[in-house]
């Protein structure tokens, strides 16, 4: 990762979708990526191939050419790209406030490390207490 002289640019929305597939499924062939994307919206195989080739040039993905079907993988972890995108002014202005609208099993605030430790202790004690 650090071998790259410069960081890749911010991905576009289409590129981000392909990256998400790669992060989710791991290194994949073009066909696998296309199958994952076509599940959501009709997309040509050649379009996916073209975008992947451009992304490889930009350094967003890496291409493993050892096998006959080239295998692509994301060059940066999801967290890295997310932070890169969080630098995006638009994202920062909107992303933060969106949290108040989302409903989830966890609140948007994070638990501290002490809390996590306490949590784990409590669960362990509970497990012991109720066989």
């Amino acid at each position: 990762m650090s071998g790259k002289p410069s960081d890749p640019p911010r991905p576009t929305d289409a590129e981000l979708e392909i990256l998400t597939v790669l992060w989710s499924r791991g290194a994949s062939t073009v066909r696998a990526v296309h199958e994952a994307i076509v599940h959501r919206k009709p997309t040509q195989y050649t379009t996916v191939l073209k975008v992947l080739q451009i992304m490889a040039e930009k350094g967003l993905v890496r291409r493993d050419e050892k096998q006959r079907a080239h295998i692509y993988s994301a060059s940066r972890p999801a967290e890295w790209t997310r932070r890169q995108l969080a630098g995006d002014l638009l994202q920062r202005a909107f992303g933060g406030s969106a949290k108040s609208l989302l409903l989830g099993a966890l609140s948007s605030r994070r638990a501290s490390r002490e809390e996590l430790a306490e949590l784990r202790r409590f669960l362990e004690e509970y497990e012991k207490g109720t066989p």
Binding site: D13, L16, T20, L102, S112, E115, F122, Y126, T130
Partner: protein, 719 residues
């Protein structure tokens, strides 16, 4: 700026300013009510506390609006208002919350500017809300990935078991670090990347159930409305506090739903802990201090309610009450200026009105004063609980009516903690047993009406759960009308029909098991329903004897076309027991209250009870074909006559291809009865022929299951 300066001195701006000030104590009073209610409702379920929090929160803008209406001048009263204002200054300057920053000379100078300041604040919060809404919408489309189809299938299964008929999509997103729900009309559950692969399946199901519970409870919509209230009355901490209470209790409600559904609080608690841990690992740097709400929730899930925290609520309530009293006493004397302006009677009427609309929004002064000389706390609390209990109870009753029996009643009971150990274990055992045979349930309930005999036999032969999962996947795949897309419209529609049947046809037995349920699930919604659910008098059509007759509740469903059965199929359901359990009947006389005529001919059993003398024409060329003429017209068109074509299959039942049309003697086609219809025939195949009087020829070609084809021409006349 000049225009603004002019505007702020108009009575309307002044009224807004006063309403804002009055809401200081109104909001405080409502929050005190809520604090007391939450305390008193502690032994009740989270749903009751949630209802209390929501009621209070939405009573706040109502209180503000009513105050504003009362204060809005209907006459020219500026002078009166302004003259009296200095009084208010002395009383209000004691309150810390509106110490003006630029320190104006008098309160009178300051008050008018409250309204524009407030408008600015509201505009800011609403702009932020709009941005948040747009961003949340963006989350559904950006940086997402469709998860393996098995998960969408699992979600659909859970959805049908939760009796949720709205479609829900599951997506992986690279932007969230916790599972979240987005959208109200087309809800989407977003899972963080890697969650689906790294967490155990049982835990993911817990998460999905939690989010589905949010959807079922319409939480996304309520949350949006909450945002509106927060923005409108942003300056009052009580609003934010009530809103936070509603959010907390909402999560508790969904927690309860998960535990209720899975029967295992431990797995769910572990899920929450695991999620939080994942998030912490993902972003080690960000360590924010929290109020320990997750810890509280997990404790609540696993143990009895914490008695230690109980002492905080009354103290808080008492404090709020004190402040409220002070504010109320300070605020009431400022009313006279307005009262002078508006005729006294009209004002009183308006006040009375406001009290009847929201009792707790404006506590009658008499009640407050009275409570001061006796024991203030008890009297006031009694007064409060009386109102709050009523509201909460009706709210709960309403929720229970809308939710379905399986989940609602135990949910309303209480959280896991308040149940006795025995109850809990018994319930968990029952649930585990059920979970042990989900495949049995799938076979005998989910797809009971649509699985073919061969498929059923094949499924029963399967040994491992993996094989069964695969079979189920293939089962739906075979029926998917659009195999290329992730949506399986057939499965979606099927589960929707089950949910619909359970919602609408349930009586003593679950809706999907009833006759109406079976027909609905198999053939979908009918094109027309003639509803006589209340029974009573019924104008009988001529072919059933005509005249008025008294009937049991009944419904007639009409399908324009059912593949394999034919055109214009009418199915009649009767409820002879008056229990809401409608039974399918082929005998039109069954709906008549004094149960009539047993021992019908086979023809009559198929729904044809000719009142007029029926003429029967047998085909010479194909003995399977019979045409019965006679009877009236179901459409009421007296020019045509209702006649019947009956094809009785050979002793071997099976798939017949049937093509039949009616022509005049000259060969002109009058009615195409069946155009290469593939019919799975086990009893007589019946078609209605609606024809004016005359002579006709029925030209039919019937191909039997062995592939033997036979064409025939049958002459018949309609009188």
């Amino acid at each position: 700026m000049n225009a603004l300066a002019l505007w702020v001195h108009t009575p309307a701006a002044q009224a807004v300013g006063w309403a804002l000030i009055h809401f200081l104590w109104e909001g405080g009073a409502l929050a005190a009510v809520l604090a007391a209610a939450l305390h008193l409702l502690r032994p009740w379920s989270a749903r009751a506390r949630y209802a209390a929090a929501c009621l209070t929160l939405f009573a706040m803008p109502l209180a503000f609006g009513i105050t504003l209406l009362v204060l809005l001048p209907s006459h020219n009263i500026e002078t009166v208002t302004v003259v009296r204002l200095p009084n208010a200054v002395r009383q209000f300057s004691a309150l810390p919350s509106f110490q003006p920053a630029p320190a104006p000379r008098t309160f009178r100078d300051f008050l008018p500017w409250l309204a524009p300041c407030w408008f600015l604040g509201v505009a800011f919060f609403y702009a932020r809300g709009l941005a948040a809404w747009l961003a949340a919408r963006r989350l559904r489309h950006r940086g997402i990935c469709v998860p393996p189809p098995a998960w969408q299938g699992r979600l659909t299964q859970l959805r049908s078991r939760l009796r949720l008929s709205r479609p829900v999509r599951l997506l992986e997103s690279c932007f969230t670090d916790v599972p979240v729900l987005v959208g109200y009309l087309r809800p989407v559950i977003l899972m963080p990347l890697g969650c689906l692969t790294n967490l155990p399946a049982g835990q993911i199901e817990c998460i999905l159930i939690h989010e589905l519970a949010h959807i079922r409870r319409h939480d996304y919509l309520v949350n949006l409305l909450q945002g509106f209230v927060e923005g409108l009355l942003f300056y009052h901490p009580a609003v934010w506090w009530a809103s936070r209470m509603a959010r907390e209790e909402r999560e508790n409600c969904c927690d309860d739903a998960v535990v209720e559904f899975t029967g295992d609080a431990r797995v769910y608690a572990a899920t929450l802990a695991a999620l939080e841990h994942r998030r912490a690992v993902a972003l080690e740097a960000a360590v924010a201090a929290t109020g320990g709400s997750l810890m509280k929730r997990i404790r609540r899930l696993l143990t009895e309610p914490q008695p230690a925290q109980a002492s905080a609520a009354p103290a808080f309530a008492a404090g709020l009450l004190l402040i409220t009293f002070a504010a109320a006493l300070a605020a009431w004397p400022t009313k006279p200026p307005v009262r002078h302006a508006i005729p006294a009677v009209a004002l009183q009427a308006r006040l009375l009105e406001s009290q009847t609309v929201v009792p707790q929004s404006s506590p009658p002064a008499s009640a407050l004063r009275k409570s001061q000389d006796s024991d203030p706390a008890t009297t006031f609390r009694q007064w409060l609980t009386q109102y709050v209990r009523q509201d909460v109870k009706s709210e709960i009753a309403q929720q229970e009516r809308t939710a379905l029996p399986g989940l609602a009643s135990p949910l309303a009971q209480t959280s896991a903690g308040a149940m006795t150990d025995k109850e809990t274990t018994a319930k968990q055992d029952a649930l585990r047993k059920e979970l042990a045979t989900p495949y049995q349930k799938w076979l005998n309930e989910d797809v009971a009406y649509i699985i073919s005999d061969e498929e059923r036999a094949a499924f029963k032969r399967l040994q491992t759960d993996d094989e069964r999962e695969h079979f189920i996947e293939q089962f739906w795949l075979r029926r998917d009308p659009t195999p290329g897309t992730p949506e399986n419209e057939f499965r979606e529609e099927h589960y929707r029909r089950i949910a619909y049947a359970n919602e609408h046809f349930s009586s003593r037995i679950p809706g999907w098991k009833t006759d109406r349920g079976r027909i609905y699930i198999t053939y979908g919604p009918p094109d027309e329903i003639e509803d006589h659910s209340s029974g009573g008098s019924y104008q009988r059509p001529a072919e059933q004897g005509g005249g008025a007759t008294s009937t049991f509740p009944f419904q007639q469903w009409r399908y324009r076309f059912i593949e394999g059965i034919g055109n214009n199929v009418i199915i009649e359901f009767v409820d002879p027991t008056m229990t809401g359990e409608f039974r399918m009947t082929m005998d039109p006389s069954e709906k008549q209250a004094p149960l009539a005529v047993k021992g019908l001919t086979p023809l009559e059993q198929t729904g044809i009870a000719a009142a007029r003398p029926a003429k029967t024409f047998h085909s010479d060329q194909d003995r399977r074909i019979t045409i019965v003429t006679g009877g009236g017209s179901p459409s009421g068109n007296t020019a045509s006559r209702l006649n019947t074509l009956v094809i009785t299959p050979d002793p071997v039942a099976g798939r017949f291809h049937i093509t039949a049309k009616v022509t005049t003697l000259g060969g002109q086609t009058v009615q195409v009865v069946a155009q290469n219809v593939l019919a799975e025939i086990s009893g007589p195949f019946v078609e209605w022929l609606e024809l004016p009087a005359g002579s006709y020829i029925l030209r039919a070609t019937i191909t039997d299951p062995n592939g033997v084809s036979k064409a025939s021409e049958t002459r018949f006349t309609v009188d």
